[in-house]
Amino acid sequence: MTASPALLVAVPLLSAAVLLLTGRRSDRWGHWLGCAAAVGSFLIALNLVLSLAKQPHESREISQTVWTWISVGGFNVDVTFTVDPLSAVFILLITGVGSLIHIYSVGYMEHDDNRRRFFGYLNLFVAAMLTLVLANNLLLLYVGWEGVGLASYLLIGFWQHKPSAASAANKAFIVNRVGDFGLSIAVMLTFVTFGSVAFPEVFAAADKASSTTITWIGLALLLAACGKSAQFPLQSWLLDAMEGPTPVSALIHAATMVTAGVYLVARCHPIFDLSATARGAVVAVGAITLLMGAVIGIAKDDIKKALAGSTMSQIGYMMLAVGLGPIGYIWAIFHLLTHGFFKAGMFLGAGSVMHGMNDEVNMRRYGALRTAMAVTFGTFAIGYLAIIGVPPFAGFWSKDEIIKVAFEHSWVAGGAALLGAAITAYYMTRVMLMTFFGKARWADDAHPHESPAVMTIPLVVLAALSAVGGWALLHVVNLETWLEPVLGHGEGELPFSSSLLLPLTLAVVALGVAAAWKVYGAGADIPVSAPRGSWFIRAARADLGGDLFNEKVLMQPGQRLTATLVRVDDSVVDGAVRGIGGFTTALSARLRQAQNGFARSYALVMVIGAVIVALALAMVRFA
C-alpha cells in the first residue's frame, strides 16, 4: 500500500501543533512525541520511496493534490505534493537524519526547561522542509522555503535570553529574506512568462521563453539559493547561527536546510540548462564560497564555527557542481547526501564533546579527549576521513566526482575545487588534533565524560553512513541511474588523463593533512588564548570581512537613512501639515482650556459642514 505524500507532511506538522499548543502539560512526554513524529514520517517516506522504486524507471512519480490553494484571474495554485526520484532522496535524508537528531536531542536537551518547545520547533522544521522538497510548484515551495526559515529563526534564537542568540536569529531571518526577495521575483517572473508556477508546465514550456527572461529567472533563483545556503554574498548569517543548540546546527545548518539552495537549482535545472549566464553565475558563487568557507574554517577556535565554515565550503562544492549543468547535477546531489551524513555526524560529535565539557566550544580548551570520549572520537574520526576524502569513506566518492566534473568544465573551477580539498584537509585535521589529540588544556572544572547512549547511538549510525554511504549510494542504490530521469545526464571530457585525477587529489589532501600536522600535531604547544596571527588568519577569523561589509555598506547607511526619514517625516511632512493647519494648534490649545468646549466645537463644525452641504446641493439644484 502506498502512503499519502500529504501524510508525510501532516504527521510532523500535527505533532508540532500539539507540542506548541498544549504548553507545559506535555512537558513530560513531549520529546517522545516529537521523536515518534519524526520516526513515523521516516517510515512513511520509506514506504513512498519503495513504492516509487516499483514504478517504471523513466516515469517514477507519486503525486497528490490536497486542495486548491489560490485560484484568481488565471492564477491557479494547488497544494500538490510530488514524490519523484529527486524529492525521494531528500525525504529520506530529512526524515532519516532528522529522526537520528531528534533522538540525540532527547539526551542533549535533557536539562533544558523548554525541551518540549524545542521538539515542537524541530517537528515544524521537518514539516516545512518536506513541503519544500515535495512542492510541485514554486509558490508552495516558497511556503516550505520560508517555513524552514521560520524554524531556523526560532531554533537559532532558542536560548533567546542570550542577546547574542536573539541577534543571530534576526540576522538569519533578515539575510534570508534578501534571498526570498529573489525567490519572489522568480515566482512572479515565471508566472507572467508561463501563465503557471507549476513545475511540469513551466519546464515543458521553458524553451519557448526568451533567453533574457530565462536568465533573469535563473539569477533570481540563484539569489534565493545564496540566502538559504549561505553562499557568497549572503553567507554571513550561518556563522552566527551557531548560537542555536548543536542538534539544530547539525540538522538545519548542516545536513538539510542549508542545502535547499542546491535543491532549488537542481529542481529548476530546465531553466539553468537554457542559460549559460545563470549557470556561470552559479559556478562562480560556488567556487568563491567553497574557498571562503574553507579559509574561515582554518582560523576559528570555536569548534562549531570551524564546522560552520566547513559547511559553507562544502555547500560551495555542491553549488559549483550544480552550476556545471548536466555533467554536475547528479554529483551535487550525491555530495549533498554524503555531506548530510558526515557533517551531521560531526556536528553531533561536537555537541557530544560540548556536553562532556560544560558547553565549552573553544578548541583551545580541548585536547586529548580521545580516551575520555572514545565513541565520540571514533565516530568523529570517521566523519573526518569522509570529509577530507579518504577512500573508501563517503566524501571521497562524491568529492572526487565533483573535482572531476569541475575540471571538465574549466581549469578555474577544477583548480578551486582541488585547492578547496587541500584546505579542507588542513582545517579538519586542525579540528581533529586540537580536540582529540595533544595535551589536555581543559578548564579547571571540566570533567570530560562520554555522552549517554541516546546520544551516541545516532553518532554510530551516522558514522556508519559516513563510512559506507558513499560507496553504497553509488554502487548499491545506483544513484546515477535513479536520478537520471529527473536530472538528465551529461558526459564531459577531462583536459588531462583521467588516471592522474585520483593521485592528484589524494596528494593535495595529504599535503593539507601534513601541513596541519606540522602546526598542531604531536608535541605542538597550543596556547589557551589565541595568538594574534598573520593578517591572513586575522582576516579569516573576521569571516573575511563579511560582517564588516554588512556593517559599513548596509547597516550604517541603513541606520542613517532611517534616522533621516524619521526626522523628515516629523519635521517636513508633518511639519508642512502643522504649518498649513497652524490653526490646529491654536484650536486644540483652546479646546484644552475649555473642557466642555470639546463637544461644543465639534457640534459647531458639524453644523457648519451640514450647512455647506445643503447650500451646495441647493445651489446646484436650483441654479
Binding site: H161, A165, A166, R177, V178, D180, S184, M188, L587, V605
Partner: protein
C-alpha cells in the same frame, strides 16, 4: 429593487445602533453588565453577517455582483437614495469589521477603569455606533449615502480618541478630524460635480452608484472629479504623504479605538478607491494609475523605513500600516484581477493582523505603563503566551507564508508584476524591510535578559487571549484556505475590471504561441 424581500442590510445596520441605545439606557451602576450587553450587541451582527456570507456565496454564481439590495428614495429633490447592497468586497469587509468590534471590546474591557475617568457606557456605546456607520459606509450603493456615513464615522472616532485617549489625545483627535474633514469636503465637491453631470445626462439627477457608473464624463472633468475622491481616500487610507495623522491617532487612542481606526476605518479609503474611484472614473483612474503606483511604492518603502526608526510601539505599528496601505494601493491600481482581488483580500487580512498586533501591544503597554520599546526586554521569559501571540501577529505583519497576509501580499505583487514588473520588483523589497521592523521590535521587547520592571509582568488573562486568539486563528485559516474569501472578492474584481475597461495581460509564452 427587490422590494418585498427581507431588508437584511438595514437590520444589520440597526442591530449595533439598538445595542448602543440599550447600553446608553442602562443604569451606570453595574459596569460589567453594560459591557456584557455591549459585547452581545456586537456578537449578534457577527452572527447575521455569517448568515449573509453563506447566502451570498450560494447566490454569487447567479449573476449580479451586488446582493441584498434595497433602495428607497430619501431626498427626491436631490436624487438621493437610501440604497444599500453589498458586493463581495463590501461583504468581506463588513465581516472583518464584525469580527474586530467584539475583539476590540474584549481587549478594551477595562480601558475606562484603567484610565480612572470617563464613562464605561459612553465608551462602549460609541463603539457600537461606530459599527453601524462602518456597516453603512461599506453597504451604501448611493454615493451620497456613502458620503454621509463616511463623514458620520468621524464622530464616534473623534469622541473615542478625544475622550478616552492618552495625554495628547485632543491634539491627535483634532488632527485626525481636520485631516478627514478636509478630505471629506474635497470629495463633496467632486460628488456635487458628478451630480451636476448626472442631471445633464440622465432623465433625473441621481446619486445612485449604478446610475453614475454609466455617465460619460468629459476627460478633463473626470480627472478633477477623480482627484476629489482620491484625495479623500488617500487621507483616509492613509497614503504617503498625507499619513501623519495616523501615528498620532494610534499613539493617543486606546488600543481598541486604534484597532477599529487602523483595522477598519482606514480600509474605507482603499475600499473607496477600488469600489468608487475605478468604476466611476475609469479613464482618469487609468490615467492616474502610474502616479498612484509610484505613490504606493514610495509608501511601501517609506512607511517601512520610518517604522524601523520608531521608539514607540504604537507609532511603529501605525507606520507598518502606512507601508501596507501602499501595497493595497498598488494592488488596486495595477488594473489586473489578481491585483484587485489581492488588494481586497489584503484589506481583510490586514484588518485581522494589525488588530492582533495592536491589541497585544496594548496588553503589553498597559501592563508596563509605557509604550517605549526600550522600556522592555525579556518579556518572553515572564509572559510566554503574550510573546508567542505577539510573534505570530508580527509574522503575519511580515507576510509569512501560512498567514493570510502572505496570500494577499503575493497576489498584489504578482498582479502588479503582470503589468508593471519594475513597480512590483521595487515594492517586493518591502518584504525585507518588514522582516527588519517586526523582528527588531520583537527582539528588543521580548528577548534578552528580563529587564527591571518587566519581571513583574503577568501573562495574558483568559479574556485577553479570547480577544486575540480568534484573530490569529482566522489569519492562519485564511492563509491555508483563502479561496472562500477570494471567491467573494473575485466577483467584485470582475465587476470593477469590466467598468474600468481593463483585461488581464496574457502570459508571454502563450502570447508568442498564438
Amino acid at each position: 429593487m427587490m422590494s418585498g424581500s427581507t431588508p437584511w442590510l438595514t437590520i444589520l445596520l440597526l442591530l449595533p445602533l439598538v445595542a448602543a441605545a440599550a447600553v446608553a439606557a442602562m443604569p451606570s451602576g453595574n459596569a460589567e453588565n453594560v459591557k456584557r450587553v455591549a459585547l452581545i450587541g456586537s456578537l449578534v451582527p457577527l452572527a447575521l453577517v455569517v448568515f449573509l456570507g453563506v447566502r451570498f456565496a450560494g447566490q454569487a454564481a447567479g449573476g449580479s455582483a451586488f446582493q441584498f439590495s434595497e433602495a428607497h428614495s430619501w431626498i427626491p429633490a436631490f436624487g438621493v437614495h437610501y440604497a444599500l447592497g453589498v458586493d463581495g468586497v463590501a461583504l468581506a469587509l463588513i465581516a472583518m469589521s464584525a469580527v474586530l468590534v467584539p475583539a476590540a471590546m474584549l481587549a478594551g474591557w477595562n480601558d475606562v477603569e484603567e484610565r480612572g475617568s470617563g464613562s464605561v457606557k459612553e465608551y462602549f456605546a460609541w463603539m457600537l455606533v461606530l459599527e453601524t456607520f462602518i456597516f453603512g459606509v461599506f453597504a451604501a450603493t448611493d454615493v451620497f449615502l456613502f458620503y454621509v456615513f463616511f463623514e458620520a464615522m468621524l464622530i464616534p472616532v473623534y469622541f473615542l480618541i478625544g475622550r478616552f485617549g492618552g495625554p495628547r489625545r485632543v491634539y491627535a483627535a483634532v488632527k485626525f478630524f481636520l485631516y478627514s474633514l478636509l478630505g471629506g469636503l474635497v470629495m463633496l465637491a467632486s460628488l456635487i460635480g458628478l451630480y451636476v453631470i448626472s442631471g445633464q445626462q440622465l432623465s433625473a439627477p441621481s446619486f445612485s452608484l449604478f446610475d453614475l457608473v454609466n455617465l460619460d464624463l468629459p476627460a478633463g472633468t473626470e480627472k478633477w472629479l477623480f482627484l476629489g475622491f482620491f484625495l479623500a481616500f488617500a487621507i483616509k487610507a492613509p497614503l504617503v504623504p498625507v499619513h501623519t495623522w495616523l501615528p498620532d491617532a494610534a499613539e493617543q487612542g486606546t488600543p481598541a479605538t486604534t484597532t477599529l481606526l487602523v483595522g477598519v476605518l482606514d480600509k474605507v479609503g482603499t475600499f473607496g478607491m477600488l469600489h468608487l474611484c475605478l468604476p466611476l472614473f475609469p479613464n482618469a483612474s487609468r490615467w492616474f494609475a502610474p502616479t498612484v503606483l509610484v505613490l504606493g511604492v514610495v509608501g511601501v518603502l517609506y512607511g517601512a523605513i520610518v517604522a524601523i526608526g520608531q521608539r514607540d510601539m504604537r507609532r511603529l505599528i501605525a507606520y507598518t500600516s502606512v507601508s501596507h496601505f501602499g501595497f493595497i494601493a498598488i494592488g488596486v491600481f495595477a488594473m489586473t484581477t489578481l491585483g484587485q482581488s489581492g488588494a481586497s483580500f489584503y484589506m481583510v487580512s490586514h484588518g485581522f493582523s494589525t488588530a492582533a498586533l495592536l491589541l497585544i501591544a496594548g496588553f503589553l503597554i498597559s501592563r508596563r505603563g509605557s509604550a517605549r520599546i526600550e522600556d522592555f526586554g525579556g518579556v518572553q521569559k515572564v509572559a510566554p503566551v503574550l510573546a508567542g501571540l505577539f510573534l505570530l501577529a508580527g509574522l503575519s505583519a511580515l507576510a509569512l507564508p501560512g498567514m493570510s497576509s502572505f496570500v494577499s501580499e503575493f497576489m498584489v505583487l504578482q498582479g502588479a508584476f503582470q503589468r508593471h514588473p519594475a513597480v512590483a520588483a521595487v515594492a517586493t523589497l518591502g518584504i525585507v524591510l518588514a522582516a527588519v521592523y517586526v523582528l527588531h521590535m520583537y527582539r528588543r521587547t521580548m528577548t534578552g535578559p528580563v529587564s527591571g520592571a518587566v519581571t513583574a509582568l503577568r501573562d495574558l488573562r483568559g479574556r485577553e487571549v479570547a480577544a486575540v486568539a480568534p484573530l490569529i486563528a482566522l489569519i492562519l485559516a485564511l492563509g491555508f484556505f483563502p479561496q472562500p474569501v477570494l471567491n467573494l472578492v473575485n466577483s467584485t474584481s470582475s465587476w470593477v475590471m469590466e467598468h474600468v475597461g481593463a483585461t488581464d495581460p496574457q502570459a508571454t509564452v502563450t502570447k508568442a504561441g498564438q
